[in-house]
Amino acid sequence: MSENILHNEQKLLNLLEKKFLLKESRIIRAKRVEVKVEPKEVIPVLLYAKENSGYIHFAHMSCVDWIEDGEFEVVYILWHPEEKINLFVKTRVPRDNGSLPNIDFIWRQANTYEREIREMFGLRFEGLEGRKEFILEDWNNIPPMRRDFDTEAYVKEVFFHRLGREDAKDVREKIQERTDEELPDFAKKYSRD
């Protein structure tokens, strides 16, 4: 039975396996297919998926920092509007001096994703155009989404902190005093005393 349901998914996998050198490939569940490729295979696979297999909708693109392995994992997620399948194309690049090809000539909205990843992770995309600053402004620290960026330490250094959490009890008494004297007349008859 499961063979029947996953027919389209299996077909896609077979096609891709025949055509490209895949590091790994699997069907996660119905409507989700995952392939892992080398960075240089990214453009051929994506182009093939778009032009020949009908995966024309670029649904998502994300980057995960695997600092233990010293690598970024970049995932491209495509969607087939007729067969209703999400195809994950995953690739890994080194954290330092790694770079990926720019794919905004295939899908122009990829430009936004790539600019964000470039800004947030410091991952280089070859030939990527567009404004350098997408979300942040005048940022001169390490890119914030990297795992080695400690946001709490940064916050402690740059921003002010309001004290008063430690004497929470006094605050509560203060609030109690204040509400009693500031209650409007109509509310006084409903107050506790």
């Binding site: 909708h57 899908w107 909205q109 979300i135 795992r147």
Partner: protein
Amino acid sequence: MREKTTTLYLGPQHPGITGNMMVKLQVQGDTVVKAETHVGYLHRGFEKLMERRNWLQSFTIVCRICVPEPDPNEENYSRAVEEIEGREVPERAKYIRVMTLELARIATYLLWYGGQSGSAGLYTMPQWSVGDRNYILDLFEDLTGGRIYHMYIWPGGVRRDLPHGFKDKAMRTMDYLEKRLDDYDKLMFENSIFQKRAKGVGIIDPEKATEWGVVGPPLRACGIKSDVRKDDPYEVYDKLDFEVPAMEGSDVWTRALIRRFEIRQSINLVRQALDKMPSGEYYNKIPNPHKWTIPAGDAFVKTESARGEFAYYMVSDGSNKPRRVHVKGPAYVHGVTLLENLLVGENIADVSFIMNSLGTCPPEIER
């Protein structure tokens, strides 16, 4: 027209802009020749914050990602966690979730009624529709305790069962809204000036729409039947009776018609979900949140929000904190690449009109 090009900064402080963002326009006379979206004014670094919080703490902040419509975020987060962990959700919880999502859709569409007509200068409509939206928010308050942020749909089910008498109240509210929607039609859709403003403005090329990443009502207004609720059914949408509208035209007017149809359909879906709701458990208990770990894996989940496909990509490394949660709202494409291309050649008067018809929501672009 003059040849001179003027730079017009629409935002961040501008009454016509939706939320806090900026569109830098190059205009010749009244015509836009170049548009550039600048975002980042609402960046809070959610994805970084979630790396520092455990699975339950992360859940409390996800609803803040998109303010007009927080529930798809909770739904996405919960479903992603459930998919990686393999947690079962009781049937009753699924129905309650569907009802909550549809209520959220109605609330967002009512806000959209206000935004769309308010940006065209019809100031009576926002007063009516945003005022009536309060009735939906009242329902949410009964159900969850909060008007805007609910934190209601959580991994394993929903937080509370329906309160006593909720079904009657919800049914009454739906009846009232259905009556009010006819009034809205008279004021907005049958208004000849509104029709003149909306027809033929902001046309998306239907051939390219899917490829450009258009989702939700704007895509359905291009004549393409695409809806996550049908294409990749979640919860119990496959057991409910509804249809996906699709119309040719792909201008602001068609998008408005699509939404006009869908808000009625959502009212119908709320009624269906309330009627078909089984009794039983509403929550599959999660372990102690401090020790709650989730096996390594990743998940990509999608929800059809009022503005289109809302997606989460979640990665777990087996610890008690998420490795990465990447949020992709529909506005991520609508508000940047699509808007920049759509505005070229349009009148300045239509800029905020088009933005509202696409449902641009800056907080979900930058998170």
